[in-house]
Amino acid sequence: MDDRKANIDLLFRNGLKDFEVLPPPEVWNNILPAIRKKQRYVALLRTAAMVTLLVSTTFLAYRLSRQNPSSFNEPAISYGQDQIFDRAIPAEPTLVRTMPSDDRQTGSVSGQQADRLPGPDAESVEEQFVPAAFVARPGTPDISNSLMKPSSLIGRPSRPAAEFNPYAGNNPVIDPLVEEPVKKDNKWRLTAMDSPMYYLRPGSGQGDFPGSFPLEQPRMSYSGGVGVSYKISKKLSIQSGLYYASIGNEVDNIKSFSGFSKFDYTKGDHNFEVHTSSGIILTKNPDVYLSDNMGDRVVTMYGRDVFDPVKANLPSLDNSLYQNFGYIEMPVLLRYKLIDRAVDFNLIGGMSYNLLVNNTVHAMAGNNRYDVGKTAGLNNFLVSSSLGMGMEYTLNDKISLNLEPTFRYYLNPFSNIGSITVNPYSFGIFSGLSYRF
């Protein structure tokens, strides 16, 4: 008996192995448009991501290539410097008594002359503070006028050392290049931004529901909220905040009717299930009746063979269902300033943590929403990675305008149905205002 069972199994297993039947030609004609449509979405998102990345990289490369060693920290000459000067950088101002104008050379005196000078009560002596570095050693040529200037100043008209001297007693001329006024640096920034978002959910997996749902399309979604950033250094800041993201998905060709509750005699928490790429829609509204015009996505005991909504004269509502998902987002982002001008450019990257707070499904009855139920099988917690290019236009010391094209990829699946994984991508252009304090 067991052998016979095995025989019949083997007969079919071996007999059908490698068996081939040519499919009708129209199958390929139906497949092609579906894959073309999906490829257009993916190509659009890839292009957006590439553009963002390319622009960021180009600005970074440009910025790095333009960076020179700071001319203010380096002397104009780089050889024999300590043979000429006592100290390269003035530490303390030194009291130097200069000779009367007919004896002195322009702007400085030698050390020996300084040592031999009489006390401060000598009337023939003018008193001036001169930085020690400005004092040449004996026997060396007086080159202070040219060598002690920052390199950027060489080529400018020569000026006396006293004019250079920031410590000169009554000298009204203070060279701003020698000593810049200190500005208060606002390290904190409060930002309010929002953006329409475009989501795409390519599925993957080889489980019970490998993910292709050609009768679904993403709806325009949005994200907005308030962020706070702290300036770690001149170029780098860290940013966080709280955002709300609303994501929509349209499931086409699911026909909905109202007024079903008077025909429903069953007990249970839902009458209809609809299989979608985001999860399984469970009806919560006992008054709704659903049927699938294009396939077998609706699972119910009230199939068309059991109950006909048209014969029962149920009012028709809509041909699509709309899934709505709301997430609270907490981003942790790093912002690197690439260009610091009237319009700043920043490279922005980091992670966002998303908590599911809203999950509804509705149909449209005219202009009104008709609640249907909710989607089961969603991940309550999502982590996404972000890459963006921030542009910031400074209006005044405190306020600036921001524009941030941002690409996001969700690292963990949007939902788990069997072994299917759906990791969405999103692209949006955030705009808003920021306030520095």
Binding site: F19, E20, L32
Partner: protein, 186 residues
């Protein structure tokens, strides 16, 4: 003839010629699988169509581990399962406690006259739930435990359905071979 890796690469790049090549190369085998899981040609066409769309969508996730044909085969089977569940999920599958199987007929152990197309016709005549359990168990090699999870029935029901499917198939095979033998002899 282009290597399958190059064809996959071309498909991922959106090359229409490679997409069609992939389809032409594998459609006939996968259509036979679709027919094996469906009761009518329309359903088989839908399974093949939806299955191939999923194959193209998921090519990016194919890791070159294991047979590519096996990977596509699983997607087609899963598509058939999805359709089956859509139709039968909430309906109770009857338990069949005692199935009287036909007695063995030693004369009928010779099935050499049966062709693959005959076997396909026989299997497609099974009721959907028997066909699904038989395909998953006898052809794909899944256990009753796995099948029970896949199509939301108990293990006992899976066993009963298999037993019933085998009995029906045995009868039909006997009938086919008997007809062929009598045609040859007579």
């Amino acid at each position: 003839m282009p290597d399958i890796k190059n064809i996959i690469k071309g498909c991922l790049a959106g090359n229409r010629r490679d997409q069609e090549l992939l389809y032409r190369r594998h459609a006939a085998r996968l259509y036979a699988v679709s027919l094996q899981y469906s009761g009518n040609d329309d359903e088989a066409r839908d399974i093949l169509q939806e299955g191939f769309i999923k194959i193209f969508d998921n090519l990016v996730h194919y890791k070159n581990e294991g047979s590519f044909e096996g990977w596509m085969h699983r997607i087609i089977v899963n598509t058939a399962l999805e359709k089956f569940r859509g139709k039968h999920n909430l309906f109770r599958v009857d338990n069949i406690d005692q199935i009287q199987e036909p007695d063995a007929d030693p004369d009928n152990d010779d099935y050499s006259g049966l062709e693959a197309s005959d076997l396909l016709d026989i299997i497609r005549e099974l009721p959907p739930k028997y066909r699904m359990v038989f395909n998953l168990y006898a052809i794909e090699g899944y256990s009753h435990k796995e099948i029970s999870r896949m199509i939301n029935i108990s293990e006992g029901t899976s066993k009963s359905n298999l037993s019933r499917a085998r009995a029906i198939l045995q009868k039909k095979v006997n009938l086919y071979t008997g007809i062929r033998k009598s045609a040859v002899n007579g």
